[in-house]
């Protein structure tokens, strides 16, 4: 019988006998609504409007009941709930009966307490739903409720249910009775060694005398409470345990067992488990797990020295399977939809797959707009390029400008001489940005073949390309190259070039340390003519900048002389260049157009 709890300071209410009709009606209403809500929970998704209304309605009924009561205790029968002896809900259909759901697992009473909140009620309803959907041999509402630890929902399920479940066949009669008459009869005579120990202890109470230091220290520690650092360590052990991923542990565990296990049939089972794990990981594109599995499989193979040949073969076969499976199409689709869970782990996977994965990586790079992926992929390509530049270069193509440029950048970073021929080939691409990039990169190589190839770009149809080529060419002190360059600059056609292009060509002479280049530039600055004045001015201005870039006494003298006469703009330019030279603020390498 449910009794009302009483607050001593409030006026005591008389204890009720049979429940009044109003209360019974209220309880019946609650349970009817609970039943309907449970059904609704199975039909509708959690956020469905109808379900929300059912839940709110149910909570409202409970709250109304608890306005002047503290608990609602229900006795549970096979197909009915009773409240203070009266049936308040009956349902004979065991497939849907709420009372039966609780009864079948041995529950005898279910109590709701005042203070029940919506989150608890929602959890309770979810729990009923989950439990009712499980197979009978597995579902246990008592266990589910106990694990959930509701604050305002209690239940009682006695142990006789447990007894019945253990199975009569296994029980053997146990005498649980002890006859005290027999137990406390007679006398105990201590053995001599125990008597000696007793007297020894009497002389040395509580073992205060000498004992092994380790025991002494150990006992002393055990007698004290846990200090803060011990508390923290315990907490961290608990946290680590709670963070442990089942899946991860499962993989680690299986590999450890594989190492320890000799039985062929068991090795096969374990390898099958791992293969299934691998397949599932590929399906969900969980490349972290895939990489782990492949990596550990390789490590396992290394540790099999001395193992049975059968086991070694099985593991080798397993490793092959892991590498052969490759969900290229799934990866492409996922990449296209932006659904790759982790670009980093995908690239780790592709790295493990080796050179055969390179075309797929290149394909993904070309089609991806994910900046994170591209940044990571560049590191991948760099590694691939170091190992096999030719293989990497083969991923480039006229129709793949992004990957082609990425490959060019890789070659620029690695400065692998083996890449020069590929870079030269890229200079012939239609895409201007590719030609420009490859010219820039070739220019960074200290390689005669590269330099030679750049000369060809001086005749490129695109001015920007020609300018870049001129900027990258290093004339050095090769008299032949300098003379040829001077020849180009001296041609009438040179005057038709844009000022930017002219400047680029002249800068190349400025960069050359040879005397011939210097003399030619000085000559250009000193030159004056009434014919083609504007074009000549451009040349002279370019020469001024080139001389400034050269620096040195002779350049300064030429600039000083030219600053005193001739074209006004040239004079100004010379003065400014001189000023910068003298102050050491020359902004070398900067082209002014």
């Amino acid at each position: 019988m449910a009794t009302k709890t009483s607050d001593v300071q409030l006026a005591a209410n008389p204890e009720s006998g049979a429940p009044d009709i109003k209360t019974l009606s209220s309880v019946r209403e609650i349970l009817r609504h609970l039943s309907k809500t449970v059904s609704a929970h199975k039909l509708f998704p959690d956020l469905h409007e109808s379900l929300i209304q059912f839940r709110e309605g149910l909570l409202g009924l409970f709250q109304a009941y608890f306005e002047d009561r503290d608990e609602l205790e229900l006795d549970i029968e096979a197909n009915a709930f009773r409240y203070e002896g009266e049936v308040v809900l009956k349902d004979d259909n065991i497939l849907r009966s709420l009372p039966h759901l609780f009864f079948k697992d041995g529950m005898k009473t279910l109590t709701f307490l005042k203070g029940l909140v919506s989150t608890e009620l929602d959890d309770f309803l979810s729990l009923i739903k989950t439990t009712s959907l499980l197979p009978l041999e597995v579902s246990d509402i008592v266990d589910a409720l106990w694990q959930k630890e509701f604050e305002h929902i209690r239940f009682y399920a006695p142990d006789d249910y447990l007894e019945a479940q253990v199975g009569a066949a296994e029980r053997i009669p146990i005498q649980f009775q002890v006859y005290k008459g027999d137990l406390y009869r007679g006398r105990i005579e201590l053995k001599p060694d125990d008597v000696a120990a007793m007297f020894g202890a009497l002389r040395d109470p509580e073992g205060a005398g000498p004992k092994p230091a380790a025991v002494d220290a150990g006992e002393a520690i055990l007698f004290t409470g846990f200090d803060e650092s011990e508390q923290r360590r315990l907490e961290s052990l608990l946290i680590a345990e709670r963070r442990m991923s089942d899946e991860q542990e499962s993989i680690d565990l299986t590999f450890e067992l594989l190492l320890a296990e000799d039985r062929p049939e068991v090795v096969e089972i374990l390898l099958n488990i791992l293969e299934q794990t691998h397949a599932a990981a590929l399906q969900t594109l969980d490349f972290f797990k895939v990489v782990q599995l492949i990596g550990k499989a390789d490590q396992l193979a290394e540790r099999l020295e001395g193992a049975a040949p059968e086991k070694v073969r099985a593991v080798e076969q397993f490793r092959r399977v892991l590498r052969e499976r490759s969900p290229r199409n799934e990866i492409r689709r996922a990449a296209a939809a932006g659904r790759i869970p982790s670009p980093k782990h995908l690239l780790d996977y592709l790295t493990l797959m080796g050179p055969p994965a390179l075309p797929l990586a290149a394909e993904l790079y070309e089609s991806s707009r994910d900046t994170e992926f591209r940044a990571l992929a560049r590191d991948y390509f760099e590694q691939a390029g170091r190992d096999n530049p030719q293989g990497l270069a083969e991923q480039a193509g006229e129709d793949h400008p992004f990957i082609t440029k990425a490959i060019i950048d890789v070659f620029g970073r690695t400065r692998d001489p083996r890449a020069v021929s590929s870079l030269i080939a890229f200079m012939a691409y239609r895409e201007k940005s590719v030609r420009l990039r490859s010219i820039q990169t070739l220019g960074s190589f200290d390689d005669a073949t590269a330099q030679k190839a750049l000369w060809a770009s001086l005749r490129d149809e695109n001015e920007e390309v020609r300018i870049e080529a001129a900027a990258q060419i290093k004339l050095g002190t090769d008299p032949g190259a300098v003379r040829e360059w001077i020849g180009i600059v001296s041609e009438a056609a040179f005057l038709k070039k844009s000022s930017a292009e002219k400047a680029a060509f002249l800068q190349a002479l400025g960069r050359s340390p040879g005397e011939e280049a210097g003399a030619f530039l000085r000559g250009l600055v000193e030159k004056s003519s009434f014919f083609g004045r504007a074009k000549l001015r451009e040349v002279r201005l370019g020469a001024v900048r080139a001389l400034e870039a050269r620096g040195g006494t002779e350049a300064a003298e030429t600039l000083e002389a030219a600053a005193r006469k001739g074209d006004r703009k040239v004079r100004e330019a010379c003065r400014e260049a001189l000023a910068r030279l003298r102050s050491g603020r020359m902004d070398s390498g900067k082209r002014r157009i």
Partner: protein, 486 residues
């Protein structure tokens, strides 16, 4: 009773402070007279800590719900260090049958003092203690303190049940589990048994601890696994594991030695030393057990933790032992727990190959000596503090010459050598059905302890079956002993 959502939460440290002060006040009030200065000072400190909480919320409520303590809406986090305090307060609340104590905003120091004395100064009857307390409370007229009776639910879960049948049910159930030959093991019953054990542990650990002195019932491995499970659950509770975690730990402990059933009996029970080959076979039981559980895992009822424990329970924290790990760098928490308890139960069990079975206290001494070479030091410390240096069921001789059996350990670390003991002989060695004596009790003058343990004895030397005495104690505490099962 649910407070509005917008109120800030009470500070956890302040809550703990108040709880500790409340605990100490109750203890002091039970020991000393009402005008004792230490008691007065402590009540003042308690008052200050309640007022501090009332800076945040006017109404401060202590509630006991099942085995948890709530302060307003906040459930106290269970921690090993404070376990004795929690257990003490839960026991006191249970003894008073109080479910809630409320301190209102205008609480005075005098009211609080009166209240503490009211709770502690007289012996309440076992029958309906709350009714008597309520009368005293009404008479005291403390306008800013309220009390409420504990709802009847806990009474239905009788603390006075016989625990022994539950213990043996576990052994029988494990027999079904270990001999299971199907593909999908159903652990539903195992979980229910674990749940029941946890409930009994929350009421009183002593009886179950005593029952773990039963060894070799039916079969060594079954009995041993049951004992390991019970002690692991007790330790797990103290460490603050949640209920789902306790279920996992319980399952893991039950199944930790399932691999032993693949080892030939003639090797398991060989009286002499094992040769290298036999040792290698024995050592395989860990991996075999793990493998067995993996194969059963198809129904996904067996937690991964159980497989880990089966594999790791013979590996030390430094990864010595067996099997040897190639990749993993540490063992799991549950494995460390089971390792300690597995070792303890094993060396206190008579086996054909063990010339001398250690008494529980000697076993603990040995384990302390081995220290962190063999065990996680924190887990070992927690375990020893849990069962006491003289575990329940130890046979001891007192300085009075009487023989006694340890009936209940002392929760305070400082009194770990002072459990409660049941006297079974007088000073002359005559068997008596003596009282249970608390060895922490001091003489009238409070100068020394009334009785002390001199040393422990091996009960087998005297043909003493400890279990019979514990069963008699269990039967005396509970309902009439149940008859033998059909």
């Amino acid at each position: 009773m649910t407070a509005p959502e917008t109120k800030p939460a009470l500070n956890t440290a302040d809550i703990m402070d108040m709880i500790i002060n409340f605990h100490v006040s109750i203890k002091l009030a039970k020991l000393y007279a009402s005008n004792n200065r230490q008691l007065q000072e402590r009540i003042e400190v308690l008052y200050a800590s309640i007022r501090k909480l009332q800076d945040t919320e006017d109404l401060i409520q202590l509630r006991m719900i099942e085995s948890f303590i709530f302060v307003n809406r906040q459930r106290l986090k269970f921690s090993f260090a404070h376990y004795p305090i929690y257990q003490f307060l839960l026991d006191e609340f249970e003894g008073w049958q109080i479910g809630m104590i409320s301190f209102l905003a205008e609480l005075t120091k005098e009211e609080l003092r009166e209240f503490i004395l009211l709770l502690t100064q007289r012996d309440l009857p076992k029958e309906d203690p709350y009714e008597h307390l309520a009368e005293d409370f009404k008479a005291a007229a403390l306008p800013h303190i309220r009390i409420q009776k504990n709802p009847t639910m806990i009474a239905a879960e009788s603390r006075d049940r016989n625990v022994a049948p539950i213990y043996f049910l576990g052994i029988y159930h494990l027999k079904q589990v270990f001999h299971f030959e199907g593909e999908t093991l159903n652990l539903r019953v195992t979980k229910r048994w674990i749940q029941t054990i946890c409930k009994v542990l929350s009421f009183d650990e002593s009886v179950l601890f005593g029952l773990t002195s039963v060894k070799n019932f039916e079969d060594y491995t079954l009995n041993h696994s049951t004992n390991v499970c019970i002690l692991s659950l007790a330790l797990g509770r103290r460490l603050g594991l949640s209920r789902p975690e306790l279920i996992e730990l319980g399952i893991s402990a039950c199944l930790h030695d399932v691999g032993k059933y693949d080892i030939p009996q003639e090797i398991l029970n060989k009286p002499g030393r094992l040769d290298a080959q036999e040792r290698a076979i024995i050592e395989k039981h860990a991996a075999r057990g793990a493998m067995k559980l993996i194969q059963m895992r198809a129904a996904q009822q067996i937690p991964i933790a159980a497989i880990l424990v089966a594999l790791e329970h013979h590996i030390t924290p430094a990864l010595a032992g067996y099997p040897k790990y190639a990749w993993k760098t540490q063992t799991a928490l549950y494995s460390r727990i089971v390792k300690v308890i597995d070792y303890f139960d094993a060396i206190t069990t008579k086996r054909v190959y063990r010339p001398k079975t250690l008494t529980p206290s000697d076993a603990l001494k040995l384990m302390i000596e081995q220290g962190d070479k063999e065990f996680d030091p924190l887990i070992l410390k927690a375990f020893v503090q849990m069962i006491g240096i003289y575990p329940i069921g130890s046979l001891a001789i007192l300085d009075s010459g009487e023989l006694a059996i340890v009936a209940k350990s002392n929760p305070q670390a400082a009194f770990v050598r002072r459990p409660a003991v049941k006297l079974i002989t007088d000073a002359q060695g005559n068997h008596v059905d003596g009282p249970i004596v608390d060895l922490a009790e001091m003489d009238e003058a409070e100068t020394k302890f009334k009785k002390s343990i001199l040393t422990t004895l091996d009960p087998e030397k005297y043909g003493i079956r400890i279990f019979d005495y514990l069963l008699a104690m269990d039967s005396a505490a509970g309902a009439a002993a149940s008859p033998g099962h059909p």
